[in-house]
């Protein structure tokens, strides 16, 4: 199989790239050549691959190679991180309007992408979340499309609005909104006919619907198996209609799904859901990390990297425990533990590793302000290396400069320094916690 030979090839290339220290331009170029092939094999658009590898190259040259990885693997690690951040987005759910206000959502895409099924799935999901969705059959072209939505809607216990196939989709949408208002539906989900992105008339129809009923969110439904053409499709729908989110379907297949990356790169809109099967509850949130390793398809390398990361974390943890004992814990360590914490999935999952906290986790979690942590991080990053390793030199003028650099009030800097001192004191009082035996299972410390 094509893909296996690629992985093999990759392994061979990596073997040649031995040595430690920093990634040289040569290392990065050699490894990226293979990464490029892997991405192409996964159907990531050629131009996207080119752009992507270029930006990774800039980031990777000169980066430190982690202990236990060779330069090639280090590049893959960086590639994976970049893929995850490229495909992720802050918006994870549709911000629906509150209460009885109606949110209008329109699904659009090529023929056979899976819109009708997805409309029914999304309706079911929203219903489960306490919404009252109305499904709208606005595909008046494909044979039996209306019936398909009706049957699926019925299975989900959802109301399907239809006016037959003799009325224009724009008028159906208008009628649906009227019906929704009269009958207290608060989400309207419009199923549109599949269409080619080069069919100007049909693309105009989408814009017309959008305008006629003030569609809040237009979601592009894309088949995960799409090839190089995905960028043209995504671009056309973005330019001609405008889209607010993406749903990738048929991910229960074995496609590598590079189209997801292409589309995110082209549209910049969040990928919200993944279709995972033909059953009507097979709609899941989209996980950029899963998608990244699927596209990269380098299972072996990825699991090695994870192992190395875990052991490096352990090394770091032991190192830090020593520091705690010697009491030379400084802001650099503080920063490291914050980063580790993020990697572990945030504060919540770390609290779960702490024995004896029991049901109190939720309360503590509620007390922690994530944006506060972010500010703390930027304060530390605004310190000079000397200040970080020796906090005692922090005088007023230094603190002022730091506050400016981090864009916070000086009182916040003061608070952090004080907190830091306190936690140092606390460490001293709890040698048991830091010994790692009876203490925290994972050996993680909290930076506060």
């Amino acid at each position: 199989m094509a893909f296996e030979s690629l992985t093999e090839k990759l392994q061979n290339v990596f073997k040649k790239l031995r040595g430690k220290g920093r990634l040289t331009e040569e290392d990065v170029k050699t490894a990226l050549k293979e990464v490029k092939m892997a991405l192409l094999e996964a159907d990531v658009n050629f131009k996207v691959v080119k752009q992507f590898t270029k930006s990774v190259q800039e980031r990777a040259v000169g980066a430190d190679v982690m202990n236990g990885l060779n330069p090639g693997q280090m590049v893959v690690k960086i590639v994976n991180e970049e893929l995850v951040s490229l495909m992720g987005s802050d918006m994870k759910e549709l911000p629906l309007k509150p209460g009885s206000e109606i949110t209008v959502i329109m699904l659009a895409g090529l023929q056979g992408a899976g819109k009708t099924t997805t409309v029914a799935k999304l309706g079911g999901l929203l219903k489960k979340n306490g919404r009252k969705p109305l499904l709208v059959a606005a595909d008046v072209y494909r044979a039996a499309a209306i019936k398909q939505l009706q049957v699926n809607g019925e299975k989900q216990g959802l109301t399907v609005f239809s006016m037959g196939d003799k009325i224009s989709p724009v008028n159906i949408a208008k009628g649906a909104l009227e019906y929704a208002r009269e009958n207290q539906f608060n989400v309207v989900l419009i199923d549109t006919a599949g269409r080619l992105h080069v069919d100007e008339e049909m693309m105009q129809e989408l814009s017309d619907i959008k305008e006629a009923v003030n569609v809040d969110f237009t979601l592009l439904v894309v088949d995960a198996m799409t090839g190089q053409d995905a960028v043209n499709v995504a671009k056309a729908f973005t330019d001609k209609v405008g889209i607010d989110g993406v749903i990738v379907t048929k991910l229960d297949g074995d496609t590598r799904g590079g189209a997801a990356l292409s589309i995110k790169a082209v549209t910049g809109t969040p990928i919200l859901y993944a279709g995972m099967g033909e059953k009507l509850n097979d709609l899941e949130p989209f996980y950029p990390d899963r998608m990244a390793s699927r596209i990269l398809g380098m299972g072996d390398v990825m699991s090695l990297i994870e192992k190395v990361e875990a052991s490096v974390d352990k090394e770091q943890a032991q190192e830090m425990q020593k520091k705690f004992k010697k009491m030379d814990f400084d802001f650099n360590d503080y920063l490291t533990s914050m980063e580790q914490m993020n990697k572990m999935g945030g504060i919540g999952s770390i609290l779960n590793m702490l024995p004896g906290l029991g049901g109190k986790n939720k309360d503590i979690e509620g007390m922690i302000d994530e944006s506060q942590l972010q500010r703390t991080k930027s304060i530390i990053l605004s310190m000079t290396p000397a200040e970080r390793s020796n906090p005692s030199i922090l005088n007023l003028s230094r603190k002022n400069r730091i506050a400016k650099g981090a864009g916070v009030d000086i009182s916040e800097v003061n608070r952090l320094v004080k907190q830091f001192e306190q936690s140092k004191k606390m460490m001293k009082q709890m040698p048991g916690l830091m010994s790692g035996k009876s203490g925290m299972r994972g050996g993680f410390r909290l930076p506060f």
Partner: protein
């Protein structure tokens, strides 16, 4: 013949337009921008083929073949190299009269493929095409799974003016096929075409259900030619190769219907499938209307892919 060819070609050209312009622009600049055939030249060529969804493996095979010929024939000019490339893909994709034998005898056509590729629509179109050739056609609605699938095929049967054998939604598709074979025999149909539910090739149980349908046709309809066509969406990337391979495990595949070539996708994956699995494309779908199905023509397809004007393609055959 020339008339027909032109129709298909211009249709393909208009269908495959926009993106292909980029590709072709890339292609032309490639051939014009190089004085010599060197590694850089091949590398850029590889990129262009990959972008047409041909895939890295098939691309490598094609390029290896090209390199061999270039050195054998002492070719120096990139332009000549281009013609060579076009010819070798044409040669590889060519279908012969024998590939359409089932159209003329008593036969049963089993249409399979993953979800949403255009199976039902293609069956409607194929039924119409064959009926226009004077054949007596019957359809079997063996997609008893997807909502309103039976109704969808019934509408196509009406449009094409052919008979249809239906089962209830949720019924065993194998029993529908069984009944349809009996009906085809009783009504002395020339061609029976069976629609099946879309299924992803990595679902074991659905693939064995398909195998069961295939075996029923083999066993119950022995005096008919069994023609299995897998429908591939022309927009699909490399996964179509896996699809073709996996479907071949459940049924012996005789050909491909390549759909949605009226968009901007180039359908290069068909070259990859032919190259790696030896399965020929027999029909192409170029739209949603009843006459938007055509017999595959390798010359037109490859010309359209590389946008060679029709005259020059005729000339080059001399």
């Amino acid at each position: 013949m020339a008339e027909k060819k032109k129709g298909l070609f211009s249709r393909l050209v208009s269908g495959l337009s926009k993106t292909r312009d980029n590709i072709v622009a890339g292609f032309d600049s490639l051939f014009l921008g190089y004085d010599v055939i060197d590694d850089d030249f091949y590398e850029e060529l590889e990129e262009i083929l990959v972008m047409a969804d041909i895939g890295i493996n098939a691309t490598t095979a094609i390029l290896d073949d090209l390199k061999e010929k270039v050195s054998e024939q002492h070719i120096r000019r990139p332009q000549e190299c281009r013609q060579l490339l076009i010819n070798s893909i044409k040669e590889q994709m060519a279908v012969g009269e024998a590939d359409y034998e089932f159209e003329n005898g008593r036969s049963v056509v089993l249409v399979i493929g993953v979800n949403g590729v255009g199976k039902t629509t293609s069956i409607g179109k194929l039924a119409s095409l064959l009926k226009d050739d004077g054949k007596r056609v019957i359809l079997a609605a063996a997609d008893t799974f997807r909502a309103a699938a039976v109704e969808q095929l019934s509408q196509w049967a009406d449009r094409a003016g052919v008979d249809i054998i239906c089962g209830q939604e949720g019924a065993d598709p194998a029993s529908v096929v069984y009944d349809a074979v009996a009906a085809a025999k009783a009504r002395k149909a020339d061609i029976l075409i069976c629609d099946t539910a879309g299924r992803l090739h990595n679902k074991k149980n659905l693939m064995s259900e398909l195998n069961k349908i295939y075996r029923i046709l083999e066993k119950e309809y022995q005096d008919a030619i069994l023609e299995t066509l897998v429908v591939v969406d022309g927009t699909t990337g490399q996964n179509a190769l896996v699809q073709a391979r996996e479907f071949s495990e459940a049924a012996k595949i005789n050909g491909i219907i390549l759909t949605k070539l009226d968009g901007t996708a180039k359908g290069g994956i068909a070259v990859a499938i032919q190259s790696e699995l030896g399965i020929p494309v027999k029909y192409i779908g170029v739209g949603e209307k009843i006459d938007d199905l055509q017999r595959f023509d390798a010359d037109s397809f490859v010309n359209a892919l590389f946008e060679v004007p029709e005259e020059s393609s005729d000339r080059e055959e001399i």
